[in-house]
Subunit: 393 residues, 2 copies
Amino acid sequence: MQSFQPPERTLMGPGPSDVHPRVLAAMARPTIGHLDPAFQTFMEELKAGLRAAFKTENALTIPVSAPGSAGMETCFANLVEPGDTVVICQNGVFGGRMRENVTRAGGNAVMVEAEWGRSIDLDATEAALKDHPEAKILAFVHAETSTGVRADAAALCALARQHDCLSIMDTVTGLGGIPVDVDGWGADAVYSGTQKCLSAPPGLSPVTFSDRAVAVIKARAHPVQSWFLDLTLVMDYWDGAGGRSYHHTAPVNALYGLHEALLMLHEEGLDAAWARHAHMHTALKAGLEAMGLSLLVDAAHRLPQLNAVSVPDSVDEAAIRKFVLERYDLEIGAGLGTLAGKVWRLGLMGQSARPDRVIKCLAALEDALAHQQAPISRGKAIPAAQAALPDDS
Amino acid sequence: MQSFQPPERTLMGPGPSDVHPRVLAAMARPTIGHLDPAFQTFMEELKAGLRAAFKTENALTIPVSAPGSAGMETCFANLVEPGDTVVICQNGVFGGRMRENVTRAGGNAVMVEAEWGRSIDLDATEAALKDHPEAKILAFVHAETSTGVRADAAALCALARQHDCLSIMDTVTGLGGIPVDVDGWGADAVYSGTQKCLSAPPGLSPVTFSDRAVAVIKARAHPVQSWFLDLTLVMDYWDGAGGRSYHHTAPVNALYGLHEALLMLHEEGLDAAWARHAHMHTALKAGLEAMGLSLLVDAAHRLPQLNAVSVPDSVDEAAIRKFVLERYDLEIGAGLGTLAGKVWRLGLMGQSARPDRVIKCLAALEDALAHQQAPISRGKAIPAAQAALPDDS
């Protein structure tokens, strides 16, 4: 056993994304106590930074002390009671995970399904809500990391309100990369992750709850089945009014990292960050198409930060990932579930959404495909991407 | 909003403890993917380091991706099914939290209670097990952080086996500070934390499960109510056989820190680390008693790493904590629950169990108490502690 020296990777899979040295340096600052007065000021800043990123005034806006999957569970475990009906839109892995969460909380999941890589049909969703007037919640994935599909979050949140439902939105991969407007959309419970477009290390899950959702939690008939994730207890620690009461020990250094990542987002500006992700996507797409590759998701529903690229026939997709990792220290993602073996997932998230990363990724893919004698056009991808980069990027 | 620069504290409360610069530096190394081949080798080393610390050969020995409270919930949520009876020993805060966990998992909690600050009576525990032959689990806190009481873990684990129960042991504050012998004791499910005697930042919870416990989990009639903490899924990620399957994104950088902390423990040696904690306790106690202060817990059941000190009559205990924080940058802990206002909790955990910390703590306390004209002997504590330090420390 000796100290672990990780290789220097470029992270262009589905997350984690590249972490900026400022964020890494913040994580290495001295640990202080989770009840230290200095930490309490810090917590208020952190909540303000999260509210700005989510575009919300929600009082209950905090980082859950565990990765995004625990943020998902926080939303479902706190809002679903035994017997509740939840309409879930599924067009990838994470809608299926929502179903698991609902079932394990004793709820009834009503699924609205679409093919993986396609968007959720609003009419089908509305029909499900009409068929289930008892539904309490509509849940959907804003940015489906397994496929690269973007949902029409504004329309889905509006549908939920029209049918007197709360909305639960997964924007693990969305936050910081594409517009997220929690208050504008009227989303009720939203969770995200730190290791995608915020470019902090994995381990925390920012969540935000509308006052309407908080009222539902406070009026529960049954205790939340998880003590660790029970927001009626957690909020007493994060809500400074009347002094913070100990619940669990907050992950102090991980929170330092998230704070620095939010500060960097603030310095860049939300609009500029969204534009950067869009521009890098345009450049990557230009390069991929010039090479002869195609994207799985149609342009209208495509996430800029998660690009599912169809694997050409006869190409050994795992060998391509191994090649770019070994020769270029470049991580790209495999397909999940029904898309395993059929796509690569190229992430352009946070610090990985930079011109040098786009060019590196195209160069590495071209090299790897050429080694397999794949039918691609050589020498065209990088000029095409460079031509698509905005002048000020 | 600007970068957060934490004050430089000395952490001698109930945790977090001081984090060594080597561990902080490890946390700041570049993030790599949680499925990276290099990370898989690292994970095997991390599990080996945890097994050495726990003194176990248990295959299922991993860090849960969240703080100690989630480690507790991992044990209860995976082992308790609706209707199960669990005998819980409670003599502080954390036994009460165990009860919450059992109840929320649908189990029946049978409490064996002792006054806070006293040890659990073995005869009373045995009587409860005899009264409840249907009991499936005996749960207890090995190192009660709220009071500083050490349980007779070997005897309690043996009682569990005699009554055909699994044992669940909380050693959040124990691991690395006092002997923990999971295999020797035959403990079945054990959880700890990183921010106590391991001296890594808070955020992870090492757990270990005997093969007997794993068999019970695999034979469950009901799914684990938490998807995030469901070990039947989590173990597919941590068990390298057949490739790691994605469950949730592991907190990569926090794991770097834990790995480095385990390496430091390995370098020092378990026996030496336990001896260091014992010696620092002896020195601190000598100083406290020379000053005229007394410890809450009797010597036979006292944890060296968590010292509950009785607050003298007429002393404003909160003002003392404020004074040492502001003048000395020293964090000490308040009492919890029934001991609020009645004790301070002085931690000697991990990197905080060092001669300079013992002396600093005594100097700061003496200064603070003198400022309140408390009836203490001045000038005696530090020489007494120094006389009690071993020559080689």
